[in-house]
């Protein structure tokens, strides 16, 4: 393909991404060095937004919780997603029903699903699941005001929402594993456990990496589900970084846009660190091609 053709074909897409992603991003970086609110030109304040964010214990709590949530959810997603995908793959007649039913959680808009989820736990709205858990365990949990029960609920919601995606991807991956490979392993006397560990999983390293990557990206920017699920998120240490930005830079008359932007920039750095392994692989690939 000639260079001219390449740029002609890719031009519109690149133009859109640069115009609508890079330009706003530059504005965010500018704002992060300013004291500014919407509709007014800002004044340059150097690094003070950054020092304010980095010395704010609230920001520290938000980073901790976000990273915690990402790690836990990603781990659960990979393990449970794999098990469920294998199970679904073995189904025959039931498969479309199970897969279709599971996809419901994924197609519900995040915030809507979170509202439904919160009604299951909120006694003011019946709280049917809360009631069930109380009856079963004989204990009552403060799902919205105690840090750990709230974390459990938020993790459960996030897994509930994202699991179908992992299942779908891993299922696609499992189906991509050539049958000859399984047969060969079986002839070599591999039992089912060994088959998974030595044959299927290594073959699917790519797709598992992909699920991992997408999950990390999506959980790191958890935001809307916390509106119904954790109404006093900061007070109990369950606020995500994006929620912190929302609160400082948009909601309830708060217009500390500079501070919010600084937090945005910091979280971009955090995300890049989390994604570093993937980026490194890509760079290697690029180098190999150069």
């Amino acid at each position: 393909m000639r260079r001219r053709e390449f740029w002609m074909l890719i031009g519109p897409s690149v133009l859109v991404m640069f115009g609508l992603l890079v330009v706003p991003l530059i504005r965010t970086v500018q704002w992060s060095f300013q004291q500014v609110s919407y509709g007014t030109p800002g004044t340059f304040v150097g690094l003070s937004n950054y020092t304010q964010a980095l010395t704010d214990p609230r920001f520290g709590r938000a980073v901790f919780f976000t990273v915690f949530l990402t790690l836990v959810v990603t781990a659960i997603m990979l393990v449970v997603g794999y098990l469920v995908a294998i199970g679904v793959n073995n189904l025959t007649r039931l498969r479309p029903y199970i897969l279709g039913a599971m996809l419901v959680a994924y197609v519900l808009p995040g915030v809507v699903g979170a509202v439904s989820f919160s009604w299951l736990f909120d006694q003011n709205f019946g709280g049917v699941l809360n009631l069930l858990i109380e009856r079963l365990t004989g204990q009552s949990f403060l799902w919205f005001t105690d840090t750990w029960p709230n974390r459990v609920m938020v993790v459960a919601h996030t897994v509930w929402h994202l699991l179908p995606f992992a299942v779908l991807m891993i299922l696609a991956g499992v189906q991509g594993v050539p049958n000859e490979l399984r047969e060969a392993a079986r002839i070599d006397g591999a039992n089912s456990w060994k088959m998974h560990v030595y044959v299927i999983i290594p073959t699917m390293r790519g797709i598992i990496g992909f699920v991992c990557l997408i999950t990390i990206m999506d959980v790191l920017r958890t935001f809307d589900s916390l509106i119904p699920l954790s109404p006093q998120a900061d007070a109990i240490g369950n606020e995500s970084i994006m929620f912190y930005v929302f609160d400082t830079a948009f909601r309830d008359g708060s217009q500390q846009l500079g501070l919010g932007s600084a937090v945005n920039v910091l979280s971009i750095i955090l995300i890049l660190i989390c994604l570093f392994p993937f980026i490194r692989d890509l760079l290697k690939e690029a180098k190999a091609k150069a």
Partner: protein, 437 residues
């Protein structure tokens, strides 16, 4: 075969949707102003097609005024639009629309607490000239003097008062009668009643109040301080968080906590209504605008069992009730592109006599002589409360100070910070917020 199965499932879901839509959507948009009163709305018709966007949160007290305005003033070239929105949505949208040279909204609902801040910033229009011009046409002199001053800043009126909201106590008359209890008049009374109800009734957490940690809790603290005769900011602009009144208010609130749902710091006013609807609480204190809902059969099987009284005082000897008087009114954003004379007349018709009469019993209109003791089941309580609520003019720094102290307030009430340290922290935060303006 399998292809057909799941296609069939998909088609089934579509069919359910289609049926639901078919069964329910035939009158789409037909009742957007259901039950609205038609009043005269006599503005000069603009020549161009005009859309007037109205920002007002939904509650049974605000809705009648909004609906009357939208229904009566929409005609010919002019369409008024009002999207449903909750209170916190209104707060966010108000900030957004007032920032910058243009905004989405042309008429906004606002309230005494918010007026000084947005008026001093020049974000809403002063209305005095319009009031002078249209006083006779819309009989504006009948709007209560005190409520007008609650929506004024620096001697100028910035919002046209439509109604007042004050704290009311709703309680379960059946439960109280069975146990031989009287409506409590102090926090101590409330606790005594709660003890009895917990012991002899089967309500574990009898007291319900909206102590949402991100919003209403600070209003409750302010009401408790008002009961003691002090406010967040004194008349000469000093923060009052280290005063004795502040301490009494905090300790009073803390003493109620054991009798309130452990998750009370996540409850807004609708949650408190839910507690009452569901019979999980026996007494609730919140703004009067939320009381009418309790009297409706469609909302709860217990609707006949609720009785209403003025809220208690913090201490038996406190000078005022545990209450805030909040006045709601209509304001014109300074950045609207529409004819402000037209907008004012729309607002004026919506607070006229017919509109105000129609808003009873859900609201307590600003027009004098509309609410009598027979107006509603809680009218007596409302009139009593107004007489004994501390007059507390709002300060331009009120909003900033309130936002600044709220997290500390929550920590103090939950026992994570002790009262003395918390009072000092709030004082420092408030000083900084006042200096920042």
């Amino acid at each position: 075969m399998r292809i057909h199965t799941h296609v069939r499932n998909g088609v089934a879901a579509m069919a359910i949707t289609a049926t639901l839509v078919g069964l329910t959507a035939c009158g789409a948009g037909s009742r957007t102003n259901e039950g609205a009163t038609e009043v005269e709305c006599d503005y000069t018709m603009p020549e161009a097609d005009t859309t007037v966007n109205v920002l007002a949160y939904n509650s049974s007290a605000i809705d009648p005024f909004t609906d009357t305005m939208v229904a009566s003033c929409t005609r010919d070239n002019v369409t008024l639009l009002h999207d449903p929105i909750d209170f916190s949505g209104q707060v966010t949208k108000t900030t957004a629309t007032l920032a910058g040279d243009t905004g989405t909204y042309d008429i906004i609902e606002t309230y005494g607490f918010a007026v000084p801040e947005i008026a001093s910033a020049g974000s809403i229009e002063p209305l005095d000239d319009f009031v002078t011009e249209y006083s006779e046409k819309y009989d504006l002199d009948a709007l209560d003097e005190g409520m007008r001053s609650a929506l004024s800043y620096d001697g100028q009126l910035y919002a046209l008062p439509m109604q007042a909201q004050m704290y009311i106590m709703a309680y379960r008359e059946d439960v109280f009668e069975d146990l031989g209890l009287e409506a409590p008049t102090s926090f101590e009374d409330m606790i005594d009643a709660a003890e009895v109800i917990r012991e002899q009734g089967d309500i574990e957490y009898p007291i319900a109040m909206p102590w949402s940690a991100t919003a209403d809790i600070s209003t409750n603290y302010q009401a408790a301080m008002n009961s003691e005769g002090a406010d967040f900011i004194s008349e000469d602009g000093e923060a009052q968080f280290t005063t004795e009144e502040s301490r009494t208010a905090l300790e009073g609130m803390k003493s109620l906590l054991p009798y309130m749902d452990p998750q009370v710091t996540t409850f807004d006013q609708p949650s408190v209504q839910q507690q009452m609807f569901n019979g999980s609480a026996a007494m609730a204190v919140m703004f009067s605008g939320r009381m009418n809902d309790l009297t409706l059969e469609t909302n709860s099987a217990l609707f006949e069992d609720f009785a209403f009284a003025a809220p208690p005082k913090v201490g038996a000897e406190s000078p005022y009730l545990f209450s805030r008087l909040s006045v709601d009114g209509w304001a014109i954003p300074a950045n609207t592109q529409l004819d402000k004379d037209m907008l004012f007349q729309m607002m004026a018709s919506a607070v006229g006599e017919d509109a105000s009469t129609a808003a009873v019993p859900a609201a307590y209109p600003a027009r004098e002589g509309i609410v009598t003791d027979d107006s509603s089941r809680y009218a007596v309580a409302a009139n009593n409360t107004i007489a004994e609520t501390m007059p507390a003019p709002n300060h331009p720094a009120s909003a900033a100070v309130t936002n600044a102290i709220r997290p500390v307030l929550v920590q103090v009430l939950l026992g994570q910070t002790d009262v003395d340290a918390g009072m000092q922290q709030m004082q420092d935060l408030a000083d900084a917020a006042i200096d920042g303006l």
